[in-house]
Subunit: 558 residues, 2 copies
């Protein structure tokens, strides 16, 4: 029997009206702002009314370092959410929104896969509820107001060589990476160098995802540094008086989006900051609201656990006062085999030795996650080609690390396949054994924070940074930014900064190329290696084959 594709399964979904999904969570119709029949925003007023409720249990789904074999982190997040509902728990899922632009380069993706997906898939790959467009608008407004300020006399004394605020567009457009703007004479302003990033890289996105409420949002927007004066003093967004209007543009976007899984369980899909120059998690407001509405909230973080889980713990949880009750670490037999030296073409054949050889990366992540004081369960995301012996090899390895691995078949079977995982996760979370704490305090120096992550998570021997970087960090400490957490931007393919170095390397160095201050989001970005904030399109972009078919369905997007 051939398996259906993700899109075939998604199109066959028997969706319930979104009001029914909301009603099951106790959200009255008037507080559910529908976008079509299968998407809705939850009103700010309703969210405010929940503040005195108890929180549910928070479960983070993270993964080993990604391999070309695919780990299925979102699929497992969705499968676990469905599994928890299946065993009678009231559970919600919180994941990120997809960026529109990249879907026209490579094919867009499902939220999840197989029988563990969130729908409506098409909308989530396109405009969805317009959140990212609102972010682009708010960002663009500040861009326009900044140049307008300079045009009309530059009262703030902005040094146009030191403008930090780049522009954004939600499209893969390499030709906008570096431009000169304000050409054409007196009526167009003062020519200067400028450039565009993709919208998800905007600090506005990171801020939206970290803000508790609209007034916190406006405060953070105002705190953003947009430029420096000739004396190097910072010019804030607030100095340009853009923070109020930006907040107005983001008012609706701040409300979490409710959708459903294939099994009609509720999911918030909200926010989507970059996972390198930002923290890569869905919004704080969605996670916190879900914790008030459900007994179990399953969420995920970008990339592997060395980046995603680390930032979830050290940035999102620290700043939002959240604490995970259990962490699920996703691994696959195929990824173990690739880590053990098997090429992608040979993944079909049983190879227990390779599985064993490849488990080192998994072991390192288990150890790291435990260092945050949280219970860890390994979810083996089942592929139909996995053999029993291979699965057993992973289980044995995990047991040796003092943890537990559970096979989960949600991709193939939906919640029927994830019920065992769900039961164990629920048991652990309910036991209340988590003693979560970030791995560094607020009050050590910024450089010590970088060193802590590099040594304790990446297992590097040293952090390399030239005087310019170290001086910059010291200057920010003097300016009052020393208490901020650091946001590491490095390759997701390795614990080290070398994407080719798989497994569990030690003894390496972490070179810091550059540091950036996201004063509104509230972290210092530490750039280790090449970081691309505006992707390009491939030679044959997916867009060339995207179209509507005769039934009005979208072809080529998935």
């Amino acid at each position: 029997m051939p398996f259906k594709t993700d899109i075939e399964i998604a199109r066959g979904a028997k969706k319930k009206p979104i009001q029914e999904i909301g009603a099951a969570l106790g959200i009255p119709d008037q507080h559910l702002l529908p976008y079509g029949h299968d998407k809705a925003k939850v009103s700010q007023g309703f969210i405010n009314s929940l503040q005195d409720r108890q929180n549910g249990k928070l479960i983070l789904v993270t993964a080993i370092n990604p391999t070309p074999a695919g780990e299925g982190k979102t699929t497992t997040t969705v499968g676990l959410g469905d599994g928890l509902n299946r065993i009678g728990k009231k559970a919600m899922i919180c994941i990120r929104e997809a960026s529109l632009g990249p879907n026209f380069g490579m094919k867009g993706g499902a939220a999840g896969g197989g029988h563990a997906q969130v729908v409506p898939m098409e909308d989530m790959n396109l405009h969805f509820t317009g959140d990212f467009h609102a972010i682009t608008s708010a960002h663009s407004l500040l861009s326009a107001m900044l140049d307008n300020h300079i045009y009309w006399g530059n009262e703030q004394g902005i040094d146009i060589r030191r403008v930090q605020w780049r522009r954004v567009v939600d499209m893969n457009d390499r030709s906008l990476r570096q431009i000169t703007s304000s050409l054409g004479g007196v009526s167009n302003g003062f020519p200067r160098e400028d450039g565009f990033d993709i919208t998800v890289a905007s600090e506005v996105m990171a801020i939206l995802c970290l803000s508790k409420n609209l007034s916190d949002l406006q405060q953070r927007l105002g705190d953003m540094i947009v430029a420096y004066r000739r004396d190097k003093s910072p010019v804030f967004c607030r100095d340009i008086k853009a923070d109020g209007a930006m907040t107005v543009l983001l008012k609706d976007a701040m409300q979490p989006n409710l959708v459903q899984t294939l099994e009609n369980n509720p999911a918030f899909v909200h926010g989507g900051p970059f996972a390198n120059i930002a923290h890569g998690c869905n919004s704080v407001i969605a996670t916190k609201t879900a914790l008030k509405l459900a007994d179990f909230v399953v969420t995920e973080a970008g990339f592997g656990a060395d980046l995603g889980a680390e930032k979830f713990m050290n940035i999102k949880c620290r700043k939002a006062g959240l604490a995970p009750d259990c962490v699920v670490l996703v691994a696959t037999v195929r990824a173990m085999k690739m880590n053990g030296g098997v090429s992608k073409a040979d993944l079909g054949a049983e190879n227990v030795a390779a599985v064993n050889a490849g488990c080192a990366n998994l072991g390192r992540h288990i150890e790291n996650l435990k260092s945050f004081g949280v219970p860890v369960v390994v979810a083996i995301n089942h592929f139909v080609t996995d053999t029993e012996a291979e699965v057993q090899a992973v289980k044995d390895f995990v047991a040796e690390q003092g943890a537990e691995a559970i096979l989960s078949r949600h991709w193939e079977l939906g919640s029927e396949g994830s019920a065992e995982l769900a039961a164990r996760v629920a048991e652990i979370a309910e036991a209340g054994e988590s003693q979560f704490a970030p791995i560094y305090p607020d009050d050590i120096s910024l450089f010590e924070k970088i060193e802590t992550i590099a040594k304790r998570i990446y297992r590097a021997d040293e952090v390399l940074a030239d005087k310019k970087v170290r001086d910059q960090l010291k200057l920010w400490e003097e300016q009052g930014y020393g208490h901020l957490p650091v946001c590491m931007a490095k390759t997701q393919y390795s614990f080290s900064t070398d994407p080719g170095l798989r497994g569990a390397p030690t003894g390496h160095s972490v070179p810091v190329r550059e540091v950036r201050l996201s004063a509104g989001a509230g972290f210092v970005v530490v750039v280790c290696g090449e970081i691309m904030t505006m992707p390009g399109l491939p030679r044959v972009p997916a867009a060339q084959s995207i179209c509507l078919n005769e039934d009005g369905e979208i072809e080529g997007l998935f």
Copy 2:
């Protein structure tokens, strides 16, 4: 008793759930795609199902040349729609959507005014249902694909000095008017000159508003000329293979937006092309759908009748097979007085002589509109300072022109104030006396079309165009574009190209500075004077005072 402001009245609106508004039109819930509780899109499937129904009567609201006194064209459109419903007719309103960007420069506006408004006002001034964001995305995708095509080898042989396709953003951002892009070396492409227009100036906007359905939309998008080769042959959007994906991005935006008036009557607010370089009318699909759903459809066109009504007749009606049954020409006593030489400060004092002196502009418009074979009614949009004698002077003047002027007090009284106007308009439309025809045929030369408009509408003696312009028009005729209508871009303040020349000038010349081919929209733009396609922000932009107040309401936007 002080009058309430527009925003106070709008906030006091007793809105019905949008499903009730839809139900009154016979739109079943499943075909109404809600955006919140007070906005909805009508599904493409439902629109398709209406094709065999009879059309209602079409009423165009247009105006004299705008003066700083304000004419209230949209206010009268809304007031007339409400009035028709009041007298027991099933009537709908079709107006344009507002552009987001300019609201952050000058204050945003109501759709209508006083007691003749469409709501929700806030949303309509911000993201609304995301149509303009979808247009920006579709436009930006083509921009990115075009440069990507050049980057990967330029198989089409595009001359990068002859790229026609500028970028867009929905923001007033003068610094993007002229840029150099693709700087920074090999990985960013080939440096070239480029620039941004505001989204409403995009040809995609004009196309969306002129397309009959999604396949027509894709056809027109494919027809757009994006660049020329060194041999000056055109490169089409279709050659870049962007038309399919752009159609997917515009799929939802093609569905008309249903909202309501303060009196809970239905209104489509859909599309908003520039009124100079494009045709300045709401979408064909909204107008045509409304004609299937209601017995009377009241719509409007941009600027004064010399531009707006001319384009409505010669472009929109010609292309869409529409024919107005009655035209309502809006005039105010105040505007007559300004045309008669009174300054804005002195408008409060009765001045019948000035009214009489200022009526020439009105008379010219009446004559012009009649030349399209349509019955004309003048609506005197009442201001509370107007005196009876002044109103009578306008009525007398109009009667001398063989037409009829009716005082309408919808701003102050809602439909109670417009019932008389509505009754007369309904009577005329139902009488079926309109013998509408565009004022020029398809098969005269492009230059003859320009001359026809210049001489018959503007009453100029001659059209001035240098050899370059004339040769360009001839080249397009040879390439098969000779059958297209022309789209005049000139000042809206005068029949002539001199904005200071009020009244009813004759004997002037119309200099054509430039011609542009909008091959997808299907018209040749004739630029007579300076045309700004990217506005700037003022010294103190409205955005500086826009914010949320403590009740979460938006301040400063209106």
